[in-house]
């Protein structure tokens, strides 16, 4: 009996049957994530078929930013609407129960945030207690000990002091942003 046939016989959820091996599915996912899969991504957007043929990279760059923002918004809305302790019938709702449990768990989120921000040159380990801008301000204070404004800031003053500090913050906040040059206005008021 072939590997595929064996897996067809596995009783998953009582309804769903696998016809491909897990490794094969994982390979498929990775393949899908790769840039080369842009063709698959946009072959379904019929409106853009002409542009797709002419310049798929430009099309991807134009449409993907919108798609990913909508996906992130949808994810957060859907997981918030799911009740963790309810017994759902549909597989989709069960799936979002899992995601809600994961995204609600401090240990998983710590792992996620630390892994995602590892290459960023800012301390993010204490993100639950301190918003990152606090971290930037603290760093500014260390780098500019003579500037009195940094030495007497408190949680309220930090906000009201943002106007005068913003030029420093912009540099820090956008250090790792590809848009850093365009985010900064040409001249100070």
């Amino acid at each position: 009996m072939s590997k595929e046939e064996q897996e067809i016989n596995l009783p998953l959820h009582g309804k769903i049957k696998r016809s491909r091996s897990v490794t094969e599915k994982k390979d498929k996912l990775e393949e899908r994530l790769r840039v080369s899969n842009r063709f698959v991504l946009f072959s379904h957007l019929h409106l853009f078929q002409k542009q797709l043929k002419e310049n798929p990279d430009a099309l991807f760059n134009a449409v993907y930013p919108i798609l990913k923002i909508k996906a992130a918004e949808n994810l957060l809305n859907e997981v918030q609407n799911i009740n963790l302790n309810k017994e759902y019938e549909s597989n989709r709702e069960k799936t979002f129960q899992i995601l809600r449990a994961l995204l609600n768990d401090p240990e998983f989120c710590d792992l996620l945030v630390n892994e995602a921000t590892k290459k960023i040159n800012e301390p993010t380990g204490n993100w639950m207690q301190h918003p990152p801008l606090d971290v930037y301000l603290e760093r500014m204070q260390k780098e500019n000990p003579k500037v009195r404004i940094f030495s007497r800031i408190n949680s309220i003053y930090k906000i009201s002091g943002l106007q005068s500090l913003r030029w420093n913050i912009v540099d820090a906040a956008f250090t790792f942003s590809p848009k850093s040059s365009s985010a900064r206005p040409a001249s100070r008021p």
């Binding site: 994982k26 892994e115 301190h130 913003r166």
Partner: protein
């Protein structure tokens, strides 16, 4: 939600900062959720990509996203199967996070506490209590 807390910590600054900061840095007087996502994405592109694909992975064939990205069908890793859930999260982390140190054992230790699977690896329930239900009691 813990992740929302992280997101809100950022958003809070966007909302509390003076108007000039908002206009010059965020390019808008009143920031929308979508614009905020854009801002967040510029700061944490890997995290945003992870969340995006996590959502896409959770969608079924009836979702508009899945229709745009191509049918999932049997090619999609199934979150309700223990082995496939771990594989999905590991694949995303390895793909998007540079030099990811996460392995299956580490993930099992965390997810094993939160999600209960039966003997053959099928999803049973989540073990975490819903915070909303606690408030009602």
């Amino acid at each position: 939600m813990q992740l929302l807390r992280f997101l809100r910590n950022h958003h809070q600054h966007a909302l509390q900062a003076d108007p000039e900061f908002r206009v010059e840095i965020l390019k808008t007087e009143r920031i929308s959720d979508a614009h905020y996502c854009d801002f967040f994405d510029s700061k944490f592109p890997e995290l945003m990509a992870f969340l995006t694909w996590m959502y896409v992975g959770a969608c079924d064939d009836d979702d508009e996203f899945t229709k745009m990205l191509g049918p999932n069908g049997e090619d999609n890793l199934d979150f309700l199967v223990e082995e496939e859930l771990y594989d999905f999260i590991l694949a995303l982390m390895n793909f998007f996070f540079e030099e990811s140190t996460i392995n299956k054992e580490k993930l099992e230790a965390i997810i094993g506490r939160l999600v209960k699977f039966d003997d053959i690896g099928n999803f049973e329930n989540v073990t975490m209590k819903d915070p909303r239900n606690k408030k009602k009691n």
